[in-house]
């Protein structure tokens, strides 16, 4: 009797949970899309004067959501916590200028790339002798913790990698001489140069693709977003956004 009761309870729980487990797409339609980002990465995302998150990614995600009829809730948090937050279902999408890497693909799914560009090395104007990756040997290289650029820096023999919580802190470290060089995406690097006139770009590195990241079990949502991105590319909206933020 007791055994049967347990079995029935278990069946009940399983049944209830399977009806609760909606597809990601359906859930996004009813509950809206929670988007995680780390607003220390201009022009992809940064905070404006009123501490509102703005940037290319914000406009992009809003355009996608308008296309698909979702409501969007954008939450700012630390960069290195984004993928764990996605995996633990605190957020549904990462829109953080995330470089598509093989290593990340093991844990998350990426949408089609929405922007491509090289990483760059940035130093102070007074610094000389750094013109390629190998020149960073023996130098302090500032990057953000958990970033694809951290991986690049770690690959340089003899480089002393300094990982900061915020990319803005990494740039500040170079500007205040606490580090010798910064590795960052070119678009972001240009934004930092506007802020710190004493810095300069000394080298262009590998070309990388940037995409939105989703959980692996959200294939339907990813396909819908991919279709929306394609539509935005065809309609010229994507170029318009790129011109607005990356010029």
């Amino acid at each position: 009797m007791r055994k049967w009761f347990t079995v029935m309870v278990l069946v009940g729980i399983l049944g209830a949970s399977s009806t609760l487990a909606q597809s990601c797409l359906a859930s996004a339609k009813t509950n809206g899309l929670t988007v995680g980002t780390s607003p220390d990465y201009p022009p992809f995302e940064s905070l404006d004067k009123d501490n509102k998150i703005i940037g290319f990614d914000v406009d992009l995600i809003n355009a996608i959501a308008a296309e698909l009829g979702f409501k969007v809730n954008i939450v700012g948090q630390s960069f290195d916590g984004l993928i764990p937050a996605l995996l633990s279902k605190k957020i549904d999408v990462i829109a953080a200028g995330l470089t598509i890497t093989e290593e990340r693909k093991k844990s998350v799914d990426f949408t089609r790339p929405y922007i491509s560009g090289p990483n760059v090395i940035i130093t102070r104007k007074e610094t000389s002798g750094i013109s390629k990756l190998e020149d960073l040997a023996g130098k302090k290289v500032a990057v953000q913790i958990g970033s694809a650029q951290e991986k690049i820096a770690s690959g340089v023999k003899g480089a002393e990698v300094k990982s900061y919580n915020l990319y803005t802190d990494a740039a500040l470290a170079v500007n205040t001489r606490q580090a010798d060089a910064l590795i960052v995406h070119r678009f972001v690097g240009r934004a930092f140069l506007k802020q710190y006139p004493d810095l300069k770009i000394v080298a262009e590195l590998n070309q990388v693709d940037t995409g939105l990241a989703l959980r692996k079990d959200c294939g339907d949502l990813r396909q819908a977003i991919d279709a929306a991105i394609e539509k935005l590319e065809k309609s010229g909206k994507m170029d318009e956004l790129a011109a607005k933020w990356f010029k």
């Binding site: 290195d80 916590g81 993928i83 764990p84 995996l87 290593e103 844990s107 500032a142 913790i145 958990g146 951290e150 300094k162 990982s163 900061y164 919580n165 802190d169 500040l172 470290a173 205040t176 001489r177 606490q178």
Partner: protein, 216 residues
């Protein structure tokens, strides 16, 4: 739970723990040295000196440690145009911060020594400096061992703040691995256990010291 990951990252975490221990030990040592001077200045009959040290203590206790760290790490290079190693910046920030707390701990300890001790010492012909050096301070230091150990434990735990200026101490070591593997739970669990082990050992040593010196 990925125990394999914890096992594989243990050497890197322990390396971080060693940095944590070194920062704590150095900062506590400098903090006690500096704090002793601050405590004496605080109790000085010279009014402006005592007021000045009060301001120093309030400033350090009234502002967040993380802000003090950033002030030193980003501020000193801006003022002096020279690089400052983040480990050194950390030790400077912690020593200065700790000196304020140590000063107040010591002041309480010194004031808890009965007046008669000082009077007797002076009556026996010791100078005020000798009285302080041989009679008051040795007794005061023994009394303040428990609160000083607390300060040491607080320093050890607060050293995790140095992760923000890219010092690879224990917390940063865990963060670096979890940022790479996306497994924060396993990493922070391992990090917590290592911190706990260090603080438990610290309090055990303190109890031994106390027991030993109390007997005499």
């Amino acid at each position: 739970m990925d125990f394999g990951l914890i096992h594989d990252s243990l050497p890197f975490l322990l390396q971080g723990a060693w940095v944590t221990l070194r920062i704590t030990a150095l900062s506590l040592a400098f903090g006690i040295l500096l704090g002793t001077l601050v405590a004496l200045a605080r109790m000085s009959p010279v009014r402006w000196l005592s007021r000045l040290t009060l301001g120093y203590i309030e400033l350090l206790r009234g502002t967040p440690l993380l802000v003090q760290i950033f002030l030193i790490f980003f501020g000193i290079p801006q003022l002096t145009q020279r690089q400052i190693n983040e480990f050194v910046a950390g030790v400077i920030a912690f020593s200065i911060n700790s000196s304020a707390y140590v000063a107040e701990i010591l002041r309480a300890g010194i004031q808890s020594i009965p007046k008669g001790q000082r009077e007797a010492s002076l009556a026996l012909g010791l100078s005020p400096t000798q009285t302080l050096r041989y009679i008051i301070l040795p007794q005061a230091f023994i009394r303040v061992i428990p609160p000083l150990v607390n300060e040491g434990i607080a320093l050890l735990k607060n050293s995790s703040l140095l992760s923000a200026i890219a010092v690879v101490e224990l917390t940063r070591a865990g963060q670096l691995i979890s940022a790479r593997t996306f497994k924060p739970f396993e990493m922070y669990l391992a990090v917590s256990v290592i911190y706990l082990a260090m603080t438990l050992i610290l309090s055990w040593i303190a109890r031994q010291l106390e027991a030993r010196w109390q007997v005499r």
